[in-house]
Amino acid sequence: MRPTVVSGPWPRLQRAWDIRAACNFIGGGTGTGLILLALAAALGGADWLPALLLGLLFVGFGLTMVLFEIGRPWRALNVFLHPQTSWMTREGVLALPLFGAGVAAAAAEWLGWHGAALAGLSVAAVSAAGFLYCQARILRAARGIPSWREPALTPYILVSGLTEGAGLLAVVHAGAPWASVVLLALLLVRAGVWHHYRETLARRGAPAATLEVLGRLTPRLLAVGHAAPAGLLVAALTLQWPPLAVAAGLVAAGCGWRAKLVLITRAAQTQGFAIPRTPIRGRGTSRTAAKPGWSSQ
């Protein structure tokens, strides 16, 4: 029954969003990635419908999880009230054409209306791109969480969404070499933007606890989430053995999800409290002060 003691100026783990919110970034990223790649597949003449449907499923899953997170779910429609500045409103707004056009495209394809289907898919994909961008900007606008507000996180969220989508695309299109190539390329880019994100965050200064969590995550993320699937993909392409590509896809997506879960629920320390100077008590002295619990200024 003992309540948590909250003393101290140190950054502490944010308590607003938990795994349910993380699921939205996971579902939203993977889903929009899939939908964008579905359009690419369509333009390349490949089968795109499974990717679209799976993508919609993922985005829907994410949004459903959010519904469980918010305190007043029956007021959920209020989310649309602030498009002027809120990336969350914008995300919500874009979900409408995303689903509308996505479902329409699927229906048209089913009905054999290929032209209309492609048009619908295009609209859904553009919406998905916007949706994904909104997700990246949602984190950037969370100015209380240094690891989220870091602009270098934006490219990571975008690339990781595509990579997670590509991972599942490799599963859906098991054995299609082009899917493996796309995933391989995205894995390389994702490793790069992750590295860039971490470096930038550390350079600019962040809560030590955040950097510690990210520091523990990174070797595993790079080895298991990038090097291993890349190796599998190269092997799959060389040996032309599709199960390897499927495995690589699942690992690449799964590690992206894991990284997001860590980002949202563990590497998410607050700014903490800090003062630039100490006060002069009577005839005492003032000194400059550091940020408690931070890696550097």
Binding site: M1, V5, V6, S7, R281, G282, R283, G284
Partner: protein, 913 residues
């Protein structure tokens, strides 16, 4: 549930006296009969020194009222066995049943005699910190008075949790039961562990903040960076229990590194015993005819009695006196011919010569240059020669002060610290003058409410002192109370407060284990207590609980179940702070840092109806008096003033008829009227109803009355400093008495009666005692100390959730603080579970490594480790009290012990994620 919008809300005035720095004036919002909020009493702006603000504790009063864990009906124990492992088996009973059972016992006691075969009162009582319960117990004091002898010697922390030595020596030297800086006027304070920002109440916090604005420099000398240290200009970490060495070194700098004219020579010469000549026996040389102490008159070149007209005595030097006597112990007169007399000042200067900053540096672990600089800054700021006008009188202006905290002021070394502090004030003439070191209240002399009026002319040009006799004829060889305060501690006197200021731990210790040759005291037949929890607030709390379990019949005024009333036979639920009626005095000068420009009275009355069957203490006291057949004595006590003020004065008479019962409100209505009539000299009379609207009544209090020196001048008196001739004699006499009685267990304490205190290895006493108890000092390498916490201190409120919540923002509360480097060496990180172990006990809690603490010190704030109190028992907070031993060896001659214990710390669990 919908929010209820109240249309029946009002703010009612009351007071908070949860600590000695009260009362704070507040108002309580009452909505539809429910207390909902507390806020300051803004009407007190301009009256109360902190503009009617209340400290954080007062905000706990609403929860205190509605705490679901309250005991709300009288209870009887059904399990005859007592102990921590025995469920009391409480069963509710009616008030009639409870009072009948208690009264039957009381009447039986009265029938057999109030004093038992051992010579001790059969009834004993214990009340909480510093007299605070008196501000809630209504007319219970009238019942106590009506009853007769009661043993108050079972302490709840007195002597170890207060500023004990200051109480005794401060009141002896300058009517200063508590000592404060004249904060509103001073410029420089050296504070040795005094934590006024935590324990000084709102008045202290307010006026120190103003002083900082004004540009004061306060240097905090303390082993850890307390709140007061934080709010000071400088923090000087010092090894625990070495403060007297720092003080002596400051005295050394003043005496031996500056020309004499740099000191306040006139004050030393005219207002102290500095010029008194001391003979070879260590006593004053006296005029053989009059017996008066001699001084060397520089005009005549001859010795003269201290009060000789027109004499200009020599402050320093050695002089040949043709004929003189010394007054030794037990009336011994030592005649001298052609004897050399040395002024008390010279003896002091010589005694202090060796205590250089370089010497002190090795003792205190503080750089010599720091000590020297602080001493020089002190002298520089003293502005010797400056004057200031107060209420039309010109007084010296000496804006420097030295203040002492609890652990500095308790146990071994405390006498030396008190003397050092008072001497520093004396050397620069800063004692009891504007800007200097002041007393605030008195408790060992009368009248309690006016320390200036307590100054009576005594022997040798000094104030009369109220010492317990040590001469063969009058010494109380057979103690009147179980802590033997009148037998062992001459300085504590025999006022209504004295017994509880005696060595109160001895009462507990002797019940278990009396020293050789000392008769083991009897258990009191009936022990009752109110607003206190000694099973948490004292030391070696497990042992204390075991002793409590052996008390034959225990009556507890109970708020919730707690660790002490777990051993009770009857629980009586009393109406709490917001539920009961009382009028108390306020203002003037009072505990800690209260210097008001007003004085008067404040009322507390039921803002809300009492919960359950809880009853007002005034009702309970009246019932007990009536049922015991003491109505007349009870009413007479009330008429004499046991309920705040005498009911009859020159211009008013609101006396109670002696044979009649009065309702609670009727009694307080009369007290209100008497108080207002007394304060207004009969011009204003206000009853209870008026107070319910207005809350308080005040009249002006003159600022000049903050200072004792004008009274000393008016009465031609000198401060009994620097030389302690009288105490030296008293010590000799007491030594003889104890030897004659065959007691040697107090010998160490008797050595403390030095006329000029000398440094002893005080920290070493702890090491030696540890070794004597069978411990290896190497196994306990850290100094365990404690520090008070404003949210909790003296509030007996560990069960209040709000206090826990807000105290969580203060570092270290509920934790074990240690230095980051020490923690690193021990592999301890923030939040790890650690065990603090002493030779007698173990306490556990989370670690909080900090930079602001000496690497050899561990601080455990507050007093916790509850195991019975609902809510508090779930906190898992550590407590120094659990591991501090009750030890005769660590008790000083005033009967006090310090919150210091040698400990080890080890990690026993990882921090929760």
């Amino acid at each position: 549930m919908k929010a209820i919008r109240s249309n029946d809300a009002k703010w009612v005035p009351t007071y908070c006296y949860n600590c000695v720095a009260g009362p704070d004036l507040l108002t309580v919002k009452v909505e539809n009969g429910v207390a909902t909020q507390v806020r300051p009493n803004f009407a007190a702006e301009g009256v109360h020194p902190a503009a009617g603000r209340v400290c954080v504790k007062a905000f706990g009063l609403v929860q205190k009222t509605y705490n679901p864990n309250r005991i709300l009906t009288p209870m009887r124990r059904t399990n005859p066995n007592k102990g921590r492992d025995q469920d009391p088996g409480w069963t509710p009973i009616s008030w009639d049943e409870a009072l009948d059972e208690i009264t039957a016992r009381l009447k039986d006691i009265r029938a057999r005699g109030l004093i038992d075969e051992g010579g001790y009162p059969r009834v004993a009582a214990t009340f909480g910190h510093g007299g605070t319960p008196a501000h809630y117990m209504g007319t219970l004091p009238a019942f106590l008075s009506a009853w007769g002898p009661i043993d108050f010697s079972f302490g709840s922390g007195q002597g170890v949790k207060c500023t004990h030595s200051e109480h005794l020596y401060g009141e002896y030297w300058h009517r200063a039961f508590t000592v404060a800086a004249d904060t509103v006027n001073t410029k420089y304070i050296v504070s040795f562990g005094s934590n006024v920002e935590v324990t000084g109440g709102v008045c202290a916090v307010w006026r120190h903040a103003d002083a900082r604005d004004r540009g004061i420099k306060r240097v905090q000398v303390e082993p850890h960076l307390s709140v007061t240290g934080a709010a000071s200009a400088e923090w000087v970490p010092i090894k625990p229990k070495t403060d007297p060495a720092f003080l002596f070194a400051m005295i050394n700098v003043l005496l031996h590194e500056h020309p004499r004219e740099a000191l306040d020579v006139a004050f030393l010469r005219d207002r102290t015993a500095s010029p008194y000549l001391v003979g070879p026996g260590g006593f004053y040389l006296r005029d053989p005819a009059s017996g008066k102490p001699l001084m060397w008159d520089t005009r005549k070149g001859a010795p003269v009695p201290f009060d000789a007209d027109g004499a200009v005595p020599a402050l320093e030097g050695r002089f040949n006196v043709a004929e003189a006597i010394e007054h030794g112990p037990d009336g011994a007169v030592i005649p001298h011919q052609a004897v050399e007399g040395t002024t008390a000042f010279t003896l002091t200067a010589e005694e202090m010569r060796g205590y250089t900053p370089e010497w002190a540096s090795g003792v205190c672990d503080v750089a010599a240059e720091t000590i020297r600089r602080v001493a020089n800054e002190y002298l520089e700021n003293a502005s010797i020669g400056a004057t200031v006008e107060v209420d039309g009188q010109t007084l010296p202006y000496r804006p420097v002060a030295v203040t002492l905290g609890k652990t500095v002021n308790n146990g071994w070394g405390a006498y030396h610290a008190c003397w050092g502090r008072t001497m520093l004030a004396t050397l620069v003439g800063a004692l009891e003058v504007p800007g200097g070191t002041l007393g605030t209240t008195i408790r060992l002399n009368y009248p309690h409410e006016n320390r200036l009026a307590s100054v009576r002319v005594g022997e040798d040009g000094f104030m009369a002192a109220s010492l317990n006799p040590t001469d063969r004829e009058h010494w109380l060889g057979k103690p009147s109370g179980r802590n033997a305060h009148r037998t062992l501690v001459p300085l504590v006197g025999n006022s209504s407060w004295s017994q509880a200021l005696g060595p109160t731990h001895l009462a507990w210790m002797f019940l278990r284990d009396a020293p050789e040759g000392w008769p083991r005291p009897t258990f009191p037949e009936l022990w009752f207590f109110y607003r206190t929890n000694p099973a948490i607030a004292f030391w070696d709390t497990r042992q204390l609980s075991d002793i409590m379990a052996q008390m034959p019949f225990v009556v507890a005024f109970a708020y919730t179940q707690d660790e002490t009333n777990y051993m009770a036979d009857i629980l009586l639920p009393d109406a709490t702070d917001l539920e009961s009626t009382q009028l108390i005095r306020m203002g003037g000068t009072k505990f800690v840092e209260q210097h008001w420009e007003h004085q008067g009275v404040a009322l507390r009355f039921p803002a809300v109806e009492p919960e359950g069957e809880a009853r007002d203490l005034t009702w309970i006291a009246g019932e007990l008096a009536r049922r015991c057949g003491l109505q007349d004595r009870y009413n007479r006590a009330l008429n004499r003033g046991a309920g705040c003020m005498p009911l009859k004065g020159e211009k008013f008479d609101f006396s109670l008829a002696e044979d009649r019962e009065y309702a609670v409100d009727e009694i307080w209505d009369r007290v209100c009227k008497a108080a207002t009539a007394a304060f207004s000299d009969g011009t204003e009379v206000h009853g209870l109803d008026w107070f319910k609207e207005n809350g308080f009544f005040v009249v002006p209090f003159k600022r000049i009355d903050w200072y004792l020196t004008p009274t000393m001048i008016e009465k031609g008196l000198r401060y009994e400093l620097p030389y302690q001739e009288r105490l030296f004699r008293v010590g000799k006499e007491l030594t003889t008495r104890m030897r004659e009685a065959g007691h040697h267990w107090w010998d160490g304490q008797l050595e403390e009666y030095e006329p000029i205190p000398r440094w002893h290895d005080f920290p070493g006493m702890w090491t030696k005692t540890l070794a004597k108890m069978g411990g290896d000092p190497a196994d306990f390498p850290l100094w365990g100390i404690t520090t008070k916490v404003m949210q909790y201190t003296t509030g007996n409120n560990a069960a209040i959730q709000l206090m826990h919540e807000v105290a969580g923002n203060v570092r270290g509360v509920g934790r074990v603080m240690l230095h980051t480097g020490t923690a690193r060496k021990l592999g301890i990180r923030r939040g790890d579970l650690v065990e603090v172990r002493s030779i007698t006990g173990v306490t556990r809690g989370e670690a909080e490594p900090v930079e602001g603490i000496r690497p050899d010190t561990v601080v455990i704030p507050g007093q916790f480790d509850h195991w019975a109190t609902p809510y508090a028992r779930d906190l898992g907070y550590p407590s120094l009290n659990t591991v501090a031993p009750l030890s005769l060896d660590l008790t000083d001659s005033t009967g006090s012990g310090a919150d210091v214990v040698l400990v080890s710390v080890r990690k026993i669990g990882e921090a929760a994620q």
